[in-house]
């Protein structure tokens, strides 16, 4: 049987949205898939060596559960107050640790160990003046055509 292929485009650079590409990528690899993840725009944040800057925001995020069901009555404006984002980020990290959810760094490392390939969008790297030296090792810099070279034959393609 030919090896199945999974192509993922990761476009989000927040703590919560950093999870899906690495969870699905590493799991697919464990199931025997050949996996490539193309990181573009804010998704490039997920490739930085240090991920401590990633945050989760309650602002404009009505589906986000808050302690004590606060989200049901809290005015949207309050979620924009200084410190709210930092507070929700540290609460989310604490909750994840308690529930045995892996850190993003760990899932990313497990993905790379499982030979998931990471491609950084060259155009966005230049657009945002990002330094490839800020990225972890093993990243390929390339463009959209390079993504389709793999995605064109993929069994599953996901945009997240």
């Amino acid at each position: 049987m030919e090896q199945k292929k999974l192509a993922i485009i990761a476009t989000k650079g927040s703590l919560d949205w950093g999870y899906p590409p690495f969870i699905l990528g590493s799991t697919a690899a464990a199931l025997g898939y050949d996996v490539e993840i193309f990181f573009t725009f804010y998704g490039l944040q997920l490739l930085k060596k240090n991920l401590d800057h990633l945050r989760v925001t309650p602002l404009g995020n009505p589906g986000m559960p808050m302690p004590g069901g606060m989200e049901k009555w809290m005015p949207v404006l309050v979620t924009a107050l200084p410190g709210m984002e930092a507070m929700m980020t540290s609460m989310m990290k604490k909750q994840m640790k308690e529930k045995g959810v892996a850190s993003l760094e760990e899932l990313r490392e497990l993905s790379q160990e499982a030979e998931v390939r990471f491609i950084a969008c060259n155009m966005t790297v230049e657009l945002f003046d990002m330094q490839p030296s800020d990225f972890i090792d093993g990243i390929e810099l390339a463009g959209a055509a390079r993504f389709f070279e793999f995605a064109g034959d993929a069994d599953i393609c996901m945009y997240m």
Binding site: I23, L31, K99, G100, V101, A114
Partner: protein
């Protein structure tokens, strides 16, 4: 519980870590050897069934005991 060759305690770990750790442990085993996995994540019951089906590593046993889930997987 039947005999096994290696044990992996994935207690307290959540999806997808038990599967990823099991995959790693299986990679270090010879064909025919049996891995015993202990997990506390209720989602791991369906996940190990699916893992076994998709990778061809046979799931010999799956049971709950003492609030934990136990799996025996034979390396293909």
């Amino acid at each position: 519980m039947a005999d096994f060759d290696e044990e992996l305690d994935a207690s307290g770990l959540n999806c997808p870590l038990p599967i990823l750790r099991a995959k790693k442990a299986l990679a270090g085993l010879d064909a025919g050897k049996v891995l015993h996995i202990i997990a506390t994540d209720p989602g791991s019951v369906k996940d190990f069934e699916a893992f076994s089906k998709q990778t061809g590593n046979e799931l010999l046993e799956s049971k709950e005991e003492g609030g934990k889930f136990h799996f025996l997987i034979k390396k293909a």
